[in-house]
Symmetry: C2
Subunit: 573 residues, 2 copies
């Protein structure tokens, strides 16, 4: 299989750099963007002043390292395999332990779509606690913890930017449940990253086919594409055929943690008939996916039977697939949700694979009208209770949040979540701040995401322009990721994340000095910035002119301002 | 001349309605979107429940009224001509009084590009005060004031939505300087609108050619296009050839107030040589443009000689064209800015044409690094002083604001502006909340615009995806306008603007009931929403299916949720 139609070979003037760990033999990947010098002509002489390179957080993995040869049929290098092996806390299982996984393996009709390479699954040894939270509580700084500490700081130390984010700080945050490092030992391809209020705001992207569209190749391409543009984690929300095989291809080629919503696949297994769902089928699905390497599961264990009545009072009912499935199941069976009833058993399974739990907000509002209502906050209280139960098992916890929330109601969401969920990291979908712009919901929601990110939300789940209308194309994934990189970075600036302003400063300096190429290269989307600029310059191959088509040569404020400044400088000599 | 390549004929399922005034014989235009009924099948019987139409604020003027035949060579109907005539406060001048205007008129080489119809200019009679502010202070509710009061409320009264926005409230706000109705008697084609904290947040769009690109036809098309998508006012920032003629075409065909920055044209008159600018040339330009019908002028009278030194300390100097021109002029001449020195004379001229003044922020930060610095706030203090001077002449005042401001520094901008500028309406460009996303600055800035709109900014100036890179195309204008409609509406919801939530409610209800066509028709961009939906449904002509390609038929949360709700309803029977 080839990755179709996408170019993720490199960013212009960037190179991959690797920073060594001090506690562990690790190499932390980041991207360094070199710059052209500042040129001034003084008394007819050309004076060049060099500009420091700018190092940026890099989610693109080995795809942008020319030293690594990519073969999608092999999967990417298994970065963490040795670390995990050396910890000695897991055992390699002789075979897949989920029933469904075994069935698929034995079905030779699936050979054509199967990922060609097999890796035996790992699981915590009997009685051994192996999650990042367990280690953190035990006072151990894992390789993953040191990795994320270095990653968050980039080359700040070199630049003299102070930072409170040390490996020990990471350990404390993970131990307290305020941060999560999703790190299933069965996904050693993923580069460690951290989700927590005390760190850079992260963004998740959703991909996945539905019964109506999208094949395996397309989904792998979307996954790589999403990482290239800046997605920090990736949820595979596939609901159509061949979920198992699609997921395997994605995980083996994915340099960021992968999340899923296991109830989707469980429902496929009973052919979409909610009433036929059982705990046993769901349980087998958890194991199946954990052994493939899923790093976090969205589990709607807070959507309860009593929510049915509250839903019926709403304008837009329940808009969470997982939530609506579980409430329907509970109502139809006259029983409480099996996710809630079996929650401790779920945690026992997750703990053995260090799969983090992302407690789903099945009752998130589907319209601004329903924001902050009884259904939503009642579920949030349940999530708070479940957080403590999961932590008791050493399972790392994220709390999912809305959804559709008008601006004036955003703050209450954050404050309430922190209070009732004991500061577990908040992970929100947007929120969308007005319902009237289908086709532009990456924008309606980037507004909400920036605001809630600033208030302390640790990860924001992207929304593409196709939200509410259809599945995103590659171009939509790019638009969604960039909109959310903007929201996350705006929030990082506002939070005072160490060194967040370095890139803004460098890009603005390049802009002011008419170093157009540097302006493009430092931007979130160099290709688009350059294309927009060049489109208006049809007769012109020279980029570094001292004006653009916006104002033309006579009206460039920055040029006039520089002339004035130069004159001021001289008059002060 | 034809309006090229744009379709502004109608919105689907919409009709233009006109609401009668009570105090004045006026007809206030708005757009009413009809909806399909809600259909339920109960016991095999089809039950239809009608859905109320939704009325929305409409900036598109007669372009969307099929009863009006558009002829760009004629201009659109002169709505306010009779009102102005009847007030008897202005006189029709026998000829254009600006020297430059007369030269252009007499130059037969310009006949080919000249707008074919001539209207004699109007000016306040000697000694008569004719601005909306003068009338408001005198206790008079003008037709314009009643028009905007009705317009802000749409059909809220019919829907039982209370509103404090009465004609008398409008009068009080205008009298106090807290709101502005830009209404030059020489632009009677414009439908009255109001800019103030107590009203819906408005958005301005910028168009205009530079020396490098864009002709008259293209600019008129952009103007109409901008109004069609929702621009509340329009600034013509042309700096290339034929500014005078381009502006005439735009104004005669523009149903919203038009603003300009007269210094741009003044500079063209001296062939781009800042040092040759004089007060006399500038003064003549003010009169020339006022007699064409420009409704508000951006005047950078707060950019002073002493700013030069402050600019030179900044990362990105001065990024306002007008500001940089004036500071350069002042430094080079060793004199104070002639805009500041002649400010009272400027106001005398503006008062006679009821041209509002938009005090330009020549010192707005051009990078997040420079936000809220000494240069910016020193100028703001000057603008506060100038506000009171303009008000003394009865001239309506807007205060322009930044620019590039990180989220955590936005609030200070709003609070300080209100304090030092005596609550004159704030009119901000964005602000852009991070500098790292050229190509996406409609998004970086929609975040800032929504936040500052919520805090009380009265009008937000759009930014297109091409900002910092080149001039916008028609498609960019549309993207910019919609991004800002989103920001403005999100702010209106948060501010509790009367009835703002009606459209969100209706669209969400349509979404939940799978009335896809209504969902499209109620949206800000029906064409795009429909196109995105249909693109993924290649084999399918039926729109109103109970699912979309995002989740497919088995996984639609809203369908499952409805089934559950129906079941709950039944079990409660």
């Amino acid at each position: 299989m080839q990755i179709q139609n996408i170019d993720v070979s490199s960013y212009p003037n960037s190179k991959k750099i690797y920073v060594d760990g001090k506690l562990h033999p690790i190499k932390v990947a980041m991207r360094r963007i070199s710059q052209y010098p500042t040129v001034k002509i003084v008394d007819g002489k050309r004076i060049e002043t060099p500009n420091e390179p700018v190092t940026v957080y890099d989610t693109s993995g080995v795809y942008t390292d020319p030293a690594v040869k990519i073969n999608v049929n092999e999967g990417i290098p298994r970065l963490r395999e040795q670390w995990i092996e050396q910890r000695g806390d897991t055992e390699v299982l002789p075979e897949i332990t989920s029933e469904y996984g075994r069935q698929r393996l034995e079905d030779s009709s699936l050979d054509a779509i199967r990922f060609p390479k097999r890796h035996a699954p790992r699981r915590a040894k009997e009685g051994v606690r192996c999650t990042q939270m367990d280690y953190a509580r035990a006072g151990v700084i894992t390789a993953e913890m040191e990795y994320v500490a270095i990653r968050e700081n980039l080359d700040n130390a070199e630049r003299g930017i102070p930072s409170h984010i040390t490996p020990e700080f990471v350990r404390q945050e993970v131990a307290a449940g305020r941060a999560v490092i999703p790190a299933n030992p069965n996904h050693p391809e993923a580069e460690p990253m951290i989700i927590g209020k005390g760190f850079a705001v992260k963004l998740n992207t959703n991909i996945g086919n539905s019964a109506l569209s999208s094949g395996i190749e397309e989904e792998v391409a979307k996954a790589v594409w999403s990482c290239y543009w800046g997605g920090d984690t990736l949820m595979d929300l596939s609901t159509g055929d061949n979920i198992h095989a699609t997921r395997e291809w994605i995980i083996r080629n994915c340099p960021v943690p992968v999340g899923t919503v296991p109830i989707y696949q469980a429902l496929e297994k009973v052919h979409g008939n909610v009433d036929k769902l059982t705990w046993e089928i769901y349980r087998d699905t958890l194991i199946e996916q954990a052994e493939q390497g899923v790093d976090y599961f969205t589990i709607h264990a807070g959507a309860l039977r009593k929510h049915a009545e509250l839903i019926s009072k709403r304008l837009t009912g329940c808009v969470s697939r997982g939530g609506s499935i579980m409430v329907q199941w509970a109502v139809n069976h006259g029983q409480e949700s099996f996710l809630y009833e079996h929650f401790d058993e779920i945690c026992e399974i997750l703990a053995r694979y260090d799969v983090a739990i992302s407690l789903g907000d099945g009752m998130r509002p589907g319209s601004t009208n329903d924001a902050n209502d009884e259904a939503q906050f009642l579920e949030l209280d349940v999530l708070g209770e479940l957080t403590e139960r999961a932590w008791a098992h050493g399972v790392q916890v994220l709390i999912e949040g809305p959804g559709h929330v008008p601006m004036q109601k955003i703050k209450e969401n954050m404050e309430r979540q922190e209070r009732v969920c004991h500061q577990a990291p908040f992970y929100t979908l947007g929120p969308i701040t007005t319902d009237i712009a289908p086709g532009y919901d990456h924008i309606t929601s980037a507004i909400g995401a920036a605001i809630i990110g600033r208030l302390g939300t640790a990860m924001i789940c992207y929304v593409t322009p196709k939200e509410h209308l259809s599945l995103p194309t590659l171009e939509d994934v790019r638009e969604g990721v960039i909109a959310y990189k903007i929201a996350a970075h705006a929030a990082d600036l506002a939070k005072g994340h160490p060194g967040a302003e370095v890139r803004d400063y460098a890009l603005s300096k390049a802009r002011y000095e008419f170093r157009w190429k540097d302006q493009f290269n430092l931007s979130l989307d160099p290709e688009k910035a350059r294309r927009y600029y060049m489109e208006s310059r049809v007769n012109d191959t020279e980029t570094d002119q001292k004006f653009c088509t916006m104002c033309g040569p006579n009206f460039c404020a920055m040029r006039i301002s520089q002339n004035t400044a130069d004159r001021c400088d001289k008059s002060m000599d």
